[in-house]
């Protein structure tokens, strides 16, 4: 027996070592889930090896980083000025883009609230440097210089500004392993941006990420962007993953695999971000950006409004300028288009047509009705007939029909805006208001203030309450019905409210 052991000592030692490792392998792969955490012993061995290997790697990495930083920050500064100029112009362009995207973001947020969708925003990230890899083709794993001491935990998303990289796997005190999306054992829920096809991303045997087991679809085109779907509870929704490189048939079935070109350069990673916290609310920085975008958008709209042709002709005589509507009354409400004022009103003129409730089918409008209309229609048409200039009419007729409300609104604008100051001093306006019986009947507020305010434009007293009915009461050309009914309670209520 002794000679047997001495004779086959080498082979027996080999068999014993292999047997021990095979048993160890069997114990490790017996875990219920393939990606479950390692056992204590295995974790200890990993920790020892990582602790032995990573310090020199950190040292080498820091040395290289320092040399490179010295070179790029103090020596290689050629073309920096031109690059700075380009970056500034790029920043300006991005600000403009941000203005337009901010509105989409708000709309998306509102829709998500409506749908009860819980968006996950990236709240907090930890920057880390990549200090090593697994060194083998079979394992797409990175080593980063942040660990549990810095708040890193397993299964945290690791990203770069370009796109996702992977997720943390084994986390040690000052080091962590990152499983890249190109590893065959990784997995990420993704969605194709245009076709909205969902799938699971994982690496193939060549170390390239691909979406596996996708139903064949002709709409999938090369170059289509791939985003995270958020369904895996690791990667927040909407992060860039890459673009479609090729669609390949699955050798084992009728489905196809979509090969992805990663957005992040997985073969040359130096710094990464680990998402350590996500939340349902937009992070403070993003909210601040959004509010800044709002302000910038407001300024841009002001500039645009000044450049656009206005209804108010600055070159026109003061009495021909149209009173602007008060846009602050109801921003969301659609305003009716007012018909242009007829130069020669007749019975077909909208302002002279009785309301439909008073018309009888088949019966023509008599002259008496028409004259009654004209009489009740106060000085609107009279003023027009007397030579009031057409462009001033809508404002006047509005003020008449709405029972002084609109007229006051116009005067409010005029009082507050020097540009519109002379408008309501037009004879037509004054005539219309003064001769309006409805205005006198509706309330005492309208007539005196309307007529007095334009004449004293220095008065800073605005009456915003009167501007509301103008926008909310589109039937400006029907004085009989609108005066006693709708506008008056509105104006009264608003006045009382104020």
């Amino acid at each position: 027996m002794e000679s047997f052991f001495s004779r086959y000592r080498n082979a027996l030692v080999l068999i014993a070592i292999l047997l021990v490792q095979v048993i160890g392998l069997a114990v490790q792969v017996r875990r219920p889930a393939p990606n479950a955490a390692d056992g204590h012993g295995v974790r200890l061995i990993r920790s020892w090896v990582v602790g032995l290997v990573t310090p020199p790697e950190r040292l080498l990495h820091a040395t290289g980083h320092g040399i490179r930083g010295f070179w790029t920050n103090y020596v290689d500064l050629i073309h920096v000025r031109q690059e700075n100029k380009n970056l500034k112009s790029e920043l300006d362009r991005l600000r403009l883009e941000e203005d337009s995207i901010a509105e989409d973001a708000r709309q998306g947020k509102r829709l998500q609230v409506l749908l009860g969708f819980q968006e996950k925003y990236v709240y907090k990230t930890v920057a880390a440097q990549v200090i090593g890899t697994s060194g083998t083709e079979q394992s797409q794993v990175l080593l980063i210089d942040k660990g549990s001491h810095e708040g890193i935990k397993p299964d945290m998303a690791v990203i770069t500004p370009d796109g996702i990289v992977g997720k943390t796997r084994d986390v040690f005190r000052h080091t962590s392993q990152v499983l890249e999306i190109s590893d065959p054992t990784s997995g990420a829920g993704v969605i194709l941006e245009k076709t909205r096809i969902r799938g699971v991303l994982r690496g193939n045997s060549w170390g390239q990420p691909e979406i596996v087991n996708v139903s064949p679809d002709e709409r999938i085109e090369r170059g289509e962007a791939v985003l995270t779907s958020g369904g895996d509870a690791i990667y927040p929704r909407g992060l860039a993953v890459g673009s479609v490189a090729r669609v390949m048939p699955d050798p084992e079935g009728t489905l196809v695999n979509v090969l992805i070109r990663p957005a992040a350069n997985l073969s040359k990673l130096e710094e990464v971000l680990i998402i350590t916290d996500t939340g349902g609310e937009m992070p403070p920085q993003a909210q601040q950006d959004l509010s800044e975008a709002d302000q910038a958008e407001q300024k841009a709209s002001d500039v645009l409004a000044e450049r656009l042709p206005s209804r108010m002709d600055p070159n026109a005589p003061p009495d021909q300028q149209e009173a602007p509507e008060d846009d602050s009354a109801d921003e969301g409400a659609a305003r009716p288009v007012k018909p242009p004022q007829a130069l020669h009103p007749d019975r077909y003129t909208p302002a002279d047509t009785p309301p439909a409730t008073e018309l009888v089918p088949g019966q023509k409008i008599t002259d008496a009705q028409s004259s009654a209309l004209n009489g009740a229609g106060n000085g609107v048409t009279n003023a027009a007939a007397n030579g009031a200039v057409a462009p001033a009419k809508p404002a006047v007729s509005t003020s008449t029909s709405t029972g002084t409300a609109a007229g006051t609104g116009a005067s409010t604008k005029q009082a507050s805006s020097p540009k519109t100051k002379p408008k309501t001093a037009s004879p037509a306006t004054q005539a219309g208001v003064k001769e309006n019986p409805g205005a006198k009947a509706s309330g005492k507020r309208g007539a005196p203030s309307e007529t007095s305010q334009p004449q004293t434009p220095q008065s800073p007293t605005p009456k915003p309450e009167t501007s509301q009915p103008q926008s909310s009461q589109p039937q400006s050309s029907q004085p009989e019905t609108s005066q006693p009914q709708a506008p008056q309670p509105q104006a009264s209520a608003r006045q009382g409210g104020d």
Binding site: G135, S139, S267
Partner: protein, 173 residues
């Protein structure tokens, strides 16, 4: 026969200072991890495998070569996310084979080293293929062209690395 050992000088075992036994494997693991980060195709080279082969063919002691191979392999496993033992088993086998062949062939010859490393690289891939595909049921693709390129690259790297490591050893006879 150039490849066969024909003298006492060629058969004589070489030993290394203890520090070298510890530092060189760790350096191989660290460099492998670091250089693969900056040179994406460096993962074709397997420095821990080359160190295992070198210790095997210079020590000519199958037991110690098996032990060294297993330890280096397990350390390499620890840097991956795989179960510990995959590289440990494969490198233990390679260490044993290298030590067994080192007694019979002239391992001082660069041509011999080139051929041995070429063969051992393919042998390790075969062991890995058996382990991962048939034993663990994992995905493992074998592409002949790729494996040949890898074997050639490792063989060429071995010639340089072995020459450098020769500077650290001392003769025992």
């Amino acid at each position: 026969m150039v490849l066969m050992a024909s003298s006492r000088h060629e058969v004589g075992a070489k030993s290394f200072p203890l520090v070298i036994y510890i530092v060189v494997p760790l350096l191989a693991l660290g460099l492998q991890s670091l250089l693969s980060l900056h040179f994406s195709r460096f993962d074709l080279i397997d420095l821990p495998l080359l160190v295992t082969i070198y210790y095997g063919i210079t020590q000519r002691e199958p037991v110690s070569a098996t032990m060294v191979g297993a330890l280096i392999g397990i350390a390499q496993d620890a840097l991956t996310h795989h179960a510990l033992g995959i590289f440990g088993i494969s490198k233990a086998v390679i260490g044993y084979m290298a030590a067994s062949l080192g007694v019979r062939v002239d391992t001082e010859n660069h041509g011999t080293r080139l051929l041995l490393t070429f063969g051992f690289t393919l042998a390790q891939t075969a062991v890995l293929w058996l382990l991962q595909r048939d034993m663990l049921g994992q995905q493992f693709a074998w592409h002949w062209f790729h494996e040949m390129v890898r074997a050639v690259a490792n063989a060429l790297a071995a010639v340089i690395l072995f020459a450098l490591l020769d500077l650290t050893r001392r003769s025992d006879y």
